[in-house]
């Protein structure tokens, strides 16, 4: 957070359930309104359209869920943290839940620059036609084997180039080094669960790219960001802890 504010908080929140269908910008607007409604002494930007000074971690794509999103908020004065997660969750829309809060150390780096790793959980089912009544019967017994085989193949590759479109320009990006871990286990209702740890940068694979590589012909039921980390000096920490001025307040979602 930039200077000028007297204090800054880092919040961790979950985005679960139906609300996964709102965009990152919608989440930002919901937080802005909730922070006002909770009566927090927000610090504002200068200029013609003053906005609360907030900084979000890496955007979560529309449709994905998360247990571990982060947001920094500048305040004009310190506040009591004890009730803050509960009070803020009460004025947030259903599905957005604050699960922890920490007072940020002075000159803590911005979230976007400091988060180094994401952990995703991806639930894959037999192929379904979304526009037909989905009645996914028992998965083919081979589903775990099929996906498992492809995951093995992906792991054993030394290079993995993906194509990305940005504003109509296609670029090819080498992402293998950003894939740190990928596991596959049986999931609920005949699905299989992929657990994927990737780096945070542009040279790391995205969940959709992992799906395209190992499950392009299958159904995608759910993508959940389970964790994000800040790795410094070989140690991974929850961003809530990494730059806290004192012990964060954590609660269940």
């Amino acid at each position: 957070m930039k200077s000028g504010a007297h204090t800054a908080l880092r919040l961790r929140y979950a985005k679960r359930g139906r609300i996964r269908f709102i965009s990152h910008r919608d989440v930002a607007r919901a937080f802005e309104r909730a922070l006002r409604a909770a009566g927090l002494p927000l610090a504002f930007t200068q200029g013609f359209t003053p906005r609360p000074r907030m900084g979000f971690g890496p955007a979560l794509a529309l449709g994905y869920e998360s247990d571990a999103e982060y947001l920094d908020v500048a305040l004009e004065r310190p506040v009591e943290l004890e009730r803050l997660p509960v009070d803020l969750s009460a004025v947030l829309p259903t599905g957005l839940t604050v699960t922890g809060v920490a007072e940020l150390a002075a000159r803590a780096p911005a979230l976007g620059e400091s988060i180094t790793h994401h952990c995703w959980e991806i639930e894959v089912t037999p192929a379904i036609d979304a526009f037909k009544d989905p009645a996914p019967g028992p998965a083919p017994a081979r589903l775990l084997d099929v996906v498992g085989g492809r995951v093995d193949a992906l792991r054993s590759r030394s290079a993995w180039e993906v194509e990305r479109d940005r504003k109509g320009i296609t670029t090819r990006v080498e992402v293998r080094a950003g894939l740190h871990r990928v596991e596959v286990v049986p999931g609920p209702d005949g699905a299989v669960l992929l657990t994927v740890e990737v780096g945070a940068g542009a040279t790391s694979p995205r969940p959709a790219e992992v799906v395209a590589a190992v499950a392009a012909d299958l159904g995608l039921r759910r993508v959940i960001r389970r964790a994000q980390w800040i790795e410094r000096d070989g140690v991974r920490r929850d961003p809530l802890v990494a730059d806290a001025a004192r012990t964060p307040l954590e609660c269940a979602s």
């Binding site: 609300i19 965009s23 919608d26 006002r36 909770a38 009566g39 504002f44 829309p93 989905p134």
Partner: protein
Amino acid sequence: MSSLWPRIEPLLARVSKPARYIGLERGAQRRDHHPGAVTWLLVYPDTYEIGLPNQGLQILYEILNERPDAVAERAYAPWVDMEAGMRAAGVPLFSVDGHRPAGTFDVVAFNLSAELTYTNVLNCLDLGGVRVRAEARGDDDPIVVAGGHCAFNPEPLAAFIDAFVIGDGEEPVGWITEVLGDWKRHGRPGGRRAVLAELARLPGTYVPSCYEAVYDGAHLREVVPRVAGVPERVEKATVADLADWPYPRRQLVPLIEVVHDRLNVEIFRGCTRGCRFCQAGMITRPVRERPAEQVRTMIREGLARTGYDEVALTSLSSADYSGIEGIVGEVVQATDGAGCVSVSLPSLRVDAFTVGVASEIQRVRRTGLTFAPEAGTWRLRRVINKLITEADLYAAVEAAYSQGWRRVKLYFLTGLPTETDEDTLGIAQLAREVVAIGRRHVRGASATVSVGGFVPKPHTPFQWFGQNSVAELERKLGLLRDALRRSGAQVRWHDPAASFAEGIASRGDRRIGPVIERVWRAGGTFQEWSERFDLRLWTDAMAAEGLDPDWYVTRHRDRDETLPWDHIGAGLHKEFLWQDWQAALAEHGLPDCRWTPCYDCGVCTGYALEHVVASPVPPAGGSQGTGQDLSRGGTRPEQPVPVRLGPTRSPAA
């Protein structure tokens, strides 16, 4: 019935703006559908972004959900991509609150804000598994209700709607709930026909199946009761005192961007400015101001609850509210400093006083200011009774540009009664002068001219007027575009073809019902949307029904003609409307009866109501209202009219 969500969710991965279908807004209510409750599905027949902010729907949603004997949920018309997915997967229209199928509700109620949404009403019924034609419905089908401004001519939808609510809905929804609750509890005695006849006896409730339209050749002779005990004329329901209805208390806070995305507080209902083209002003009389103290409470609590940083004080002419400056000043003061709340006043009057108030409230964001002179010459403005002189407009514009606004938006209608090319070109002259004034204050000052084709509306003095043809409107727009080339003013216009289709539905009778059904069956949904509108669908449907569009749209009506809405009462004497129509043709203005003696339009005397207005005198500034010199106008004053200056006068850089 359980939630359809598991079947809806897989569709959302493939549609645009999936958040339209998830509900979850703050203020949304999830209540059990217990057997003792009458369940209402309130449907806005357009997209979520247009429908969610609708205040009428939100008010009824709260009022019904406060009742132990009612439950209300909401639905919006799914966009075409979602509809395709739903139909392919066999998913019916659903509520966004509980994701329940539309067909499982006791009542499916539509808000009718615009005629071009009528085909969406039919589509929503069909998608909800509800029979589109009222006569085909059985005892277990929902009762289909409709209300809103368009319900003041219910006839085009008479074949599809079981009961219309005419006027303010706050009280009728309670009466309807009680009738339906009794009927359900007693095992639905007499079936659907009996309960509809009972609804027809409620004030403000029109049940078209209890009435018969009798024709005399091409002309309508009368619409008369066909069952005993229903009134010959259904009078609108009117809330006498807005103070009794402080709703919405828990305004919905949407998760995605919608129109009017801010706290909305209705400061008064009704308007007696008497603009002759304006249906809203005619059918919502008398003026009922909300007490200032209640307005303050609703603003304070609404902002605190929602976290909005903008509040709109809504009405048909917000600067006319008694003591508007005081209220605005207080809000601005109370929220001063960083993150201050901005206040907006939709439907601003055109005068310098109003700009003074506006500058008070928009200290930060001075991007654009909108005025609606509506017609290009003083002569034509007297015809339509929008009594703004050129002096008023230029003073307002001078004030706006000198106080930091960079863009002024001007709204006009074309195709008004008695309009000549001189009047049309008068719009260009006003716009050029506005730009010239602007450039004296702001480099790169601009003006936008928005022009809509006039569609005559029921229950107005212009209800007898033959609308301009598509070709005539296009010719006038062409004149205007030519006249504004290289003027610094941008011109935007409403598609004349859409105005024509609107004209068919606006003053249609029951014979237009099959036309609407044909347009819908031919795929004509979302006709409000320019990319979806198709006039051919309408003219083909008229031809297929053997109807002449010009007879409905461009034909002038006679004094003694029975109009399709004559059996619906808005309180206005038909004779008053005719006299006002004659006054219009004679270019006579009519003052605002809030502050001048009653001319007996019929509303207050007929319904034993009174204006609820805190101030006995009109607001300062502007020549509108009372005491104005109606012969004045036409020339720009030599000296700019002095403008009252507020405390923070420095123009925003």
